[in-house]
Amino acid sequence: MRENVMKPCEYACQTEEHQISRRLFLGAAAGLAGFTAPSVAKELSSGQKRMLVIFLSGGVSQLETWDPKPNTDTGGPFRAIPTSVPGIHISELLPQAAKRMHLLTLVRGINTAEDEHGRGATIMLTGRRTEAGIKYPEVGAVASNLLVTPNRDLPGHVQITPGGGSGFNKEDAGFLGPKFASITLADGKPPADLLRPASISSDSDREREALRQKLNAQFAQSRRSAQTDAYTESFEQAAKVAARAGAFDAGREDPKAADRYGRHDFGRHMLLARRLLEQGVTYVKVTHTNYDTHHENFDFHIEQLSEFDRPFSMLLDDLADRGLLQSTLVVVMSEFGRTPRINDRYGRDHWSKAWSVAMAGCGLKAGAVIGKTNANGTAVTEREVHGGHLFHTYFKALGLNPTKNFYPDGRPIPIADPKAAAISEILT
């Protein structure tokens, strides 16, 4: 491999398709083309780490959750209630979470300057602004790429969505490649093809696998490449995942737990998330819908947050009780917040200038708040941060170094935005 003299290009070119080519710029070196570049060496931190993201889709109102401003021209009708940490108040719509503030870390000074759902989600999930031409990997792909996974039988990157289709998402791993893309469990159900269908008996399955392996072994004696290896191995991997299909079945959890979390959709999904994390899935993202309340914001936030509050709190309790919270990073986020100004239909609109995110767990100072907004929430007054800072913070909290690079096709790309840094005040 020749040395390249590369001109520095830190400039994020805002062009239509500043695409990172998947092919080497200088031509492939001798050898087998098409080999995916090795990922950044996995850092061995003490014990396995995992991450849970709860995505409140649509833009949850920070004024109705983590940063209430009661009795102001923007505050709306809800109270701020005291929490288990003296001096910290959150909205009365989160009474259970309030009792667990001592487990939480609030970031209240977020300004992501992006009011559009898709681009806002990109900022929060990739730590970068939407850049034409480069597809940055989402936090789940990065986490499953970087964190040690002793259990390789289960996929490392799982999404639980309220609806849509179960399947495999090639998109969200960006340049890390489809190997780190998520598996989507729509309404918590695994992709149809994950489970062996009734038309294939277990005997048949065994027979098929044995034969397939024998045929491949024979073929490999005379013809073999990195691609044929990748192909044949993928079946072994799939068999392992399929064998662990029970991990995806939250119905196997204690019914008392199901009652505690609540029998509603989000309750079930959070219980499934707990199960997957305990079974060894590195990253789970649960989406709760929807919070885009341009109309009658207050009624709808009552409804949605009442679905959120209890399972969220139960999951925190369970992680803490099982000693998992210190090795699990939990993040509650949205694509942005909502306007302090209440519109004429009791709604709040998109707002990214001053909003909040709540976190808990691995590497964080519990019971802490960083960042402040002014009296009526219209501006950040202290410690303003954006998606890049948060992205650094997640991986620092997980014991990794987000200033290191990925090397898709040999080109160095920092894991997190080099123009930002971790919010060290909330890291232990």
Binding site: K7, G34, G133, L194, R196, R208, L215, N216, A220, S225
Partner: protein, 542 residues
């Protein structure tokens, strides 16, 4: 020295130092073999010639996108004619399946599986297929694609390259340069390419300057939009590395030869049809009109180099320039004189694609085995000493599964006298969708490096699409094999149908024994067939 001149000089030097001419009376395929052989470090490390079965499956997949049927395989293997390989090649190239294969292949190359918004799939496929059936010269095809404004409904399909990219200038520029000049100049939009000295910002904008006066009329959302053009407008660019932010411009320019000189017209005479509200303007001088000719001009060496490099890669599994869209002086071809020879001969033969592919198929280099000889493991792929394993395209894989399981024959029988390539294809393509969706790259993205993802694997392992293909319906492989008396015959039928070869003794014995012992023979046949379909031998073209 400016970079376009550097490129030109390199190529000129390359052609003088090496004998890139055919020896007297030497057909191209002999010239290929001669030069490839010259590139071997040691002849013993080259693979031996492919056996008949190996050759048959490979060339049938490469030229018609499908595997041979068991009947075809038996016949070919039994055929004693010394010229049978050449005859088979000719038969394939003359068949309507060849045009279909080229249509499907070039559709993906040219359109990256983009959604069909302004030109229907049927019209585009018809256009491409007819072009390959009639063996339209390749340069003529490219000129047609790059010069059609979409206004004439009869020829509109040719404009799909522009129209279904919404004539987005950056994307169109990038793809013209990548596909027809072998230059991925994407990174040269904001600055001279950081890694490739030969790709300057000027090269990017030189191409874009052909397009910059054109736009979709009445607007990009209209499915009937056509391409309109103004009489004025210049590209301008600044390098993001330039602290002085100097504004630069360029006339339309294909790197490597002289720029286009715009015609300047008298004021008032710039338009044949002047722009007005709801009126499509037609300029008296059109930059866009010059594009096709400029790209395919004789002087533009890059065009023919890229054309032959891509066709070579199609057959051989790897370009002489590799990666195929990074042709530049620091990434020389593995066999420079061969590339020049291929390019020159291609043009001499008026860019005749059938002729070219035939020559490659006839060569020993193409007909080499993929079995690595002892000591050959460390020989670089770029020597073409051993045939490179190629994963089947989504289409090839789908058709192969459908053929191997017997469904193709079922349809052929159903159609009876009405069976034609078109009518049969209509039936087969109904089953192709999931293969394209699950194995194809994302719309708008060029085909990527091979990867085997969990969803693809589970599609084969558990998915009902594949399970259905394996069901023992009348006329299926399972049913056919099941009716045979002898387990050894069953083994043979399986291998001939799925792997397009006879089983060797060990394979025959092992399979036969399994079948003898089976409690449920049909189920076991299904299992064996599945294992073969899921194997690497089936998934790859070898």
């Amino acid at each position: 020295m400016g970079s376009p001149w550097r490129l030109l000089l390199t190529m000129a030097l390359a052609s003088t130092f090496f004998s890139s001419k055919l020896q007297a009376e030497e057909p191209l395929h002999k010239g290929i073999d001669r030069i490839i052989a010259e590139g071997f470090e040691s002849p013993t490390k080259a693979a031996s010639p492919a056996k008949d079965a190996e050759f048959l499956r490979r060339v049938t997949l490469d030229l018609t996108g499908r595997i041979p049927s068991a009947t075809e395989t038996r016949a070919f293997l039994a055929n004693r004619t010394p010229t049978k390989r050449a005859e088979w090649i000719d038969k394939l190239i003359a068949s309507p399946e060849y045009s279909r294969r080229m249509q499907e292949y070039f559709d993906v190359v040219l359109m990256d599986r983009r959604a069909d918004t302004k030109v229907s799939r049927a019209a585009w496929e018809e256009f491409l297929r007819t072009a390959f059936a009639s063996n339209k010269p390749y340069d003529e095809l490219v000129r047609e694609i790059l010069s059609n404004d979409g206004a004439n409904p009869k020829t509109r399909a040719a404009a799909k390259f522009f129209l279904d990219r919404d004539l987005e200038p950056t994307i169109v520029t990038r793809d013209i340069s990548r596909l027809f000049l072998g230059r991925n100049v994407q990174c040269a939009q904001c600055h001279d390419h950081p890694l490739v000295d030969d790709y300057a910002q000027e090269h990017f904008y030189g191409i874009q300057a052909f397009l910059n006066r054109s736009y979709l009329f009445p607007n990009a959302q209209d499915v009937k939009a056509v391409i309109a053009e103004k009489a004025e407008g210049e590209v301008s660019f600044i390098s993001v590395f330039d602290p002085k932010k100097v504004q630069k411009s360029t006339p339309p320019l294909v790197s490597g030869w002289k720029p286009i000189v715009d015609v300047t017209l008298e004021k008032g005479k710039e338009y044949k049809v002047a722009p007005a509200k709801d009126v499509k303007p037609i300029p008296a001088y059109s930059r866009l009109e010059k594009l096709g000719a400029a790209i395919t001009a004789q002087e533009n060496v890059a065009f023919r180099r890229t054309a032959v490099n891509r066709l070579w890669a199609l057959m051989m599994g790897r370009g002489l320039v590799h990666p195929i869209d990074f042709d530049h002086s620091k990434n020389p071809p593995s066999h420079p004189e061969l590339l020049t020879l291929l390019a020159d001969e291609f043009v001499k033969h008026r860019c005749d694609v059938k002729w070219f592919l035939r020559e490659i198929a006839l060569s020993e280099s193409y007909q080499r085995s993929s079995e690595i000889p002892p000591g050959g493991q460390d020989v670089s792929q770029d020597r073409f000493a051993v045939t490179i394993l190629k994963p089947l395209s989504p289409e090839q894989f789908g058709y192969a599964m459908i053929q191997a399981t017997g469904l193709t024959d079922v349809y052929r029988k159903e159609l009876g006298n009405n069976a034609s390539e078109t009518s049969l294809h209509a039936k087969l393509s109904a089953h192709l969708g999931p293969f394209q969706r699950i194995y194809g790259s994302r719309p708008g993205e060029p085909e990527d490096a091979f990867s085997s993802t969990l969803d693809q694997t589970l599609f084969v392992k558990h998915g009902d699409h594949v399970q259905n293909l394996l069901s023992p319906r009348v006329g299926s492989l399972i049913e056919r094999a099941g009716k045979l008396k002898e387990p050894t015959d069953m083994a043979e039928e399986l291998y001939l149908t799925i792997y397009s070869r006879f089983p060797n003794e060990v394979e025959r014995r092992d399979i036969a024994e399994l079948l003898r012992m089976a409690k449920n023979r049909t189920a076991l046949l299904s299992d064996i067939a599945w294992a073969m379909l899921a194997s690497a031998e089936f998934r790859f073209n070898h």
